[in-house]
Assembly symmetry: C2
Homo-oligomer: 408 residues x 2
């Protein structure tokens, strides 16, 4: 008899966005005259940069002739893209990452979800709260947790973020093997300094742990002093894997391209303490279960690093960051403390009450959709996330409506 | 201390294509004047169909404007593509498959590799020999096997293919839970009749097993009597998952689009015998670890089902099948028994001696690259695989050279 992986039964039904969609639909039916403004989901809204569009078209023209046609490419990605990444995203910032340490993929969601496979099933996991749910769910599926009780799974070390620590968690009190970190953070928008990050790198080195560093939002960093990559920190090549994406940077959420960095100096161990190259393990996993990213998409991603591409991406980020600034100022002026929005497209607003109640109030009174913080973990209760991904016009209208709603 | 997944250490180093590449490079260095002709790897060589190119460009033009831009799409694929698949690949052949039973992905390699995750780690696995190595390797990684001894892993039920059974394996003698089947087969090109496939479906129903049916090469079937889908067989909706790809059909190996069919009527069980929907499990896996296929790629795939697309794909398949026919006839005329090549782009040639020795002989004497059968499993020893994916001119030259080499 074929049996299921019963770990899936431990997963909490992911009602967050479905629940939001249901409430929004009901509201729109009741008030059809005022369209809602969506500042909930973290998806970009503006056209792909022109440089990417041009490169995308050119690559498709190549695929239209037998001479230019490309079949299977290297599973790890084409050299042209890996070289451009290594040079522009790392070496230009003093981080020593080589092209062959970069694995191009179709999404950071896939990579952050799949990476745990190459580690032992008994690995002790530390996960921030609040955080992007994929880290947790993929470890539940893999059987690294017990049951969920009161919103938390047995067997996971939660790294609490709160107003006291500015949503930068403290080091775990019990030993852990795999540590997920995400900066600029989704959902809080909190950022980490080089000095703070060094504490984590040193902890990992001392405990032979590995840090899984999600830097999908690094392009939104405005403060020159903040690190964009964990490899800007001394010692990180021995303890960290980094995840990056073109999704939020260049608007690739529907185009699909991302990458993961696994330094060749990173080791994990057998039970008897024998070191093995994590790069080799991931390479084996990647080439066995993945067949590379679409060639035209890799050409479009390469164009992000052209002079025109860099300017256009900077304009795109500026556009959204203008929204972020306006949202943060508007909420602060109304007396709501905010984190994020300065080096991140997300503004994390302390609502002083139940997340869902505040969500409902904003929807009913202002016709604005946000995301209740409780959806990102128990520490998210009492907060909402507002996203800067929308047009200037919609954000201005949304802030006017929120002002009227909260002042009335 | 972070520990590795030690199951990876059981994997046999995959030297097959690396070894081939090394031998070919050495040969070309020694004989630089005669370029080798590659009939080894199973990768297509001709341009994407014009209908796909047109649709691909149009979708990119949409992405170039804020109004037409698409961000995250549904993880399971856009309705326009799932509907086209359900209608054209299934309902038109009398197979009752609905659009919402189709999961669009970026490759059949990913899907055939990932599917095992949703089943119990103690599931008993049956895998054909010879066969595509991904089925086996992904189960080794997941810990469902013991060590490898003399080319075979402990804990796997191998389904032997050989000249006696025409490379259609017999039912397993011990009970199994998950059964991998691939028809038209890679590497042998063998096909299965509806009557033969019904035996497997009935076996699975009687034993509450699930069949994982890889039909990536169905487009090459010329014999009207052969099933293209397992769902043409009565009862299959209760016992089978099917994998399909645009890779070999429409030349998408470098463009990346495939799909998996999981009928809603398919159940798997908890230890206590409680049934669970496999569709729900896979949907949860897919939406947690995957973010959908690139929107322009899905539009290009949709164009495969337009009238022009259908004609162009048929021409593409005809072109390669002309090669297959010529290869098969040439080898048979030289006295080598062949399987495949009639409903498959692969010709499986009985060489009567060591695979690698024959490979070396063809390379040295004819300058032609094939794939040694031993690379696909112990039952592949004594065979080579020749692929029809090349130009008519190259295939004609290759057959002339082989004729001269074998007759000399």
């Amino acid at each position: 008899m074929i049996r299921i992986n019963e770990n899936y039964l431990k997963l909490q039904a992911s009602y967050l966005f479905a629940d939001i969609a249901r409430r929004v639909a009901a509201h729109q039916k009741a008030q059809p005259d005022r369209p809602v403004i969506r500042l909930g989901i973290g998806d970009v809204t503006r056209a792909l940069p022109e440089a990417c569009i041009t490169a995308f078209h050119q690559a498709i023209d190549e695929m239209a002739t037998d001479a230019g046609f490309r079949g299977y490419g290297p599973e790890q990605g084409y050299g042209f893209l890996r070289e451009a990444i290594a040079q522009n995203d790392f070496r230009s910032r003093g981080a020593h990452i080589h092209a062959d340490e970069i694995f191009v993929s179709d999404g950071a969601k896939c990579d952050t979800g799949n990476i745990q496979e190459i580690f032992d099933s008994a690995s002790r996991i530390a996960i921030p709260d609040p955080v992007y749910p994929v880290y947790l769910d993929t470890n539940v599926m893999a059987g690294r947790t017990g049951k969920c009780r009161n919103g938390r799974y047995d067997g996971i070390t939660y790294l609490d973020g709160n107003a006291q620590n500015g949503f930068i968690p403290e080091l775990p009190e019990v030993p852990v093997d795999l540590i997920y970190l995400c900066f600029p953070n989704n959902p809080t928008g909190a950022t980490i300094t080089a000095q703070q990050l060094k504490v984590w790198v040193d902890y990992a080195a001392a405990n032979r742990s590995i840090i899984l560093y999600d830097a999908a939002y690094e392009a939104f960093i405005r403060d020159d002093g903040l690190p964009h990559s964990i490899y800007e920190i001394e010692g990180a090549r021995q303890v960290a894997i980094e995840f990056r994406s073109f999704s939020k940077t260049a608007g690739f959420t529907g185009t699909r391209c991302a990458y993961t960095v696994v330094p060749k100096s990173l080791m994990a161990f057998t039970a008897s303490g024998e070191p093995h190259s994590v790069h080799s393990l991931w390479s084996r996993r990647h080439s066995t279960k993945f067949n590379g990213v679409s060639y035209p998409v890799q050409r479009a991603a390469q164009a992000v690093y052209s002079d025109a591409g860099k300017r256009q991406v900077a304009d795109l980020i500026d556009y959204y960051m203008t929204n972020a600034d306006r949202i943060r100022r508007a909420l602060q002026a109304l007396g709501y403390p905010c984190i994020g929005g300065e080096n991140s497209p997300y503004i994390w607003v302390s609502t002083g009450k139940d997340s869902w109640a505040f969500f409902d109030m904003l929807l009913q009174k202002a016709g604005v959709v946000c995301t209740p913080g409780a959806g990102f973990g128990t520490c998210g209760e009492g907060y909402i996330r507002i996203s800067a991904f929308n047009s200037h016009e919609n954000v201005a209208t949304a802030m006017d409506r929120i002002r009227q709603a909260l002042e009335s």
